[in-house]
Symmetry: C2
Subunit: 294 residues, 2 copies
């Protein structure tokens, strides 16, 4: 069994990006610049944003954190978005989700300049990805594709079952995996809460990408021997033995499954760090102006 180590792989890729930044950004060239908007004080969001800013520092990017209180209005946030769209010193930015309930996430998403949309959630980016043309791919699926690529996991013609159809993971990874690309070129099944015969479908999978948000959902009896397992879940479960009172687990029952499969991501330390690495790579693309907004 190969442990698909997202921390280790991220270190390697970030080192490459860092070398690229050093080589490209000589004395009079500014480095790439990522901004992040964080509304409120959700602890998980704070931690994600902190890790993104830290990754920027690691590779030599400039970064800006715009932190606003929970009661920030939609129109105030739209103003910030507008200013970032116009700011020529900032190549790309993200609005950390979830937003407070009084703010319409899609409205904010639609206001982001697609050429700075390094999270890849604007319809223009999402559509370009779906059509197979140059785009920023959402960071989690992009990180998974990097993992297949670097670990040289063959996906062509394989049956890949995606559990979950969210806009952030399930839908975009199913699109990327079905395209005629390498990695990619897989037969993809998108399964979800309404799927009948889920166990049978999982048992036919060469690759399972689990993104349901249900702890330990994928059990050993749902997995074909030698399958490849990508676990996108990050679920908090109570754990009295842990000083924090909880621990993080995936959507896959790792302990049950690990000896049956050919490769598997751990949680934490699998898809999570790859997501941030993909965001860093997207920011490089924004800096390099991979496409104009048309």
């Amino acid at each position: 069994m190969i442990l698909l180590d997202g921390n280790k792989l991220s270190t390697i890729i970030r080192k490459e990006i860092s070398d690229r930044v050093r080589d490209f950004c000589k004395t009079d060239t500014r480095p790439p610049h990522l901004a992040a908007i964080l509304i409120g004080d959700n602890p998980a969001s704070q931690s994600y944003v902190k890790n993104k800013i830290k990754a920027c520092e690691e590779v030599g990017y400039a970064s800006t954190l715009i932190k606003k209180p929970l009661h920030t209005t939609e129109s105030e946030l739209l103003d910030i978005v507008q200013r970032l769209n116009e700011n020529k010193e900032i190549d790309g930015y993200i609005v950390q989700l979830p937003l407070p309930r009084h703010i319409d996430e899609m409205k904010i998403n639609l206001a982001i300049d697609p050429s700075k949309d390094v999270d890849g959630f604007h319809p223009n980016n999402f559509g370009r990805m779906a059509l197979g043309i140059t785009a920023y791919h959402p960071a989690t699926p992009a990180g998974i594709m990097m993992m297949f690529d670097r670990y040289q996991i063959s996906t062509e013609g394989k049956h890949c079952v995606v559990l979950g159809r969210s806009n952030i993971v399930g839908t975009p990874i199913s699109l990327l995996m079905s395209k005629k690309t390498k990695p990619g070129n897989a037969t993809v099944t998108i399964a979800h809460s309404r799927t009948e015969n889920l166990k049978e479908i999982c048992l036919s999978a060469d690759i399972i990408i689990a993104a349901l948000g249900i702890p330990f959902f994928v059990k050993a009896d749902m997995v074909k021997p030698n399958a490849v397992i990508i676990d996108v879940g990050i679920n908090k479960i109570e754990d009295a033995s842990n000083p924090r009172g909880y621990r993080l687990v995936g959507d896959v029952d790792f302990e049950q499954v690990k000896n049956k499969v050919s490769a598997i991501t751990p949680v934490p330390g699998g898809v999570g760090p790859m997501t941030i690495t993909a965001l860093i790579e997207n920011t490089w693309k924004a800096y390099s102006k991979i496409y104009n907004n048309n």
Copy 2:
């Protein structure tokens, strides 16, 4: 076995649209207006465009056909597109595909104002559809969804196998079928030329949507009893007994399959007319300004 009759259903839906136009467009309100650009003299394209214009007349829309010779340059076509974008009397328009080889289809596609893009191929529309927000859906998949709806074919939780991953049919129908909508909410498998065990996958399907462009590809031994078959293929095969020397057949071996299934579309007269009806419906949406381009 139910024959999913696209001609009959289109007649009913177009009558409804025609009533809507008559009720809405009183003396001083202009009707919806669709324009079509046709480059060159490909007989199939001519026939498709003719049917689209005819459907406009049928429902009481205004229509404009812009016919240009094969040697039209990309920049000339971009000028026409620009003029249609600016023309307030035209609600939506299509550029009939395929375009001659010297013109970059995607470049033309990207120049279309998404709010007038009734073919739904602009990334902004395609992305909105993929994200599940208001959009023009490409006409063929939209026509298939109408068919499921009107024939009350249950799709929720069913296993739908899509054969083909084109941007025009396979990819968008797989997106629409997987969303939490009615119809929709299916478990969707996207299969294609690289798929291993294709026969086995087809045999597990409750619904097969064939959009490969290979005549008679789906045989009786690939179909589960009582499956629903949607045949998107329109293939010309030689037929000496036909005065034209050829006839049109689908991707499904209709004669072999028809007695095994619960419902099936004929070719011609199945998905084809529904595609045009969906375009007519999209034009109504454009006329009603379902979304601004943002």
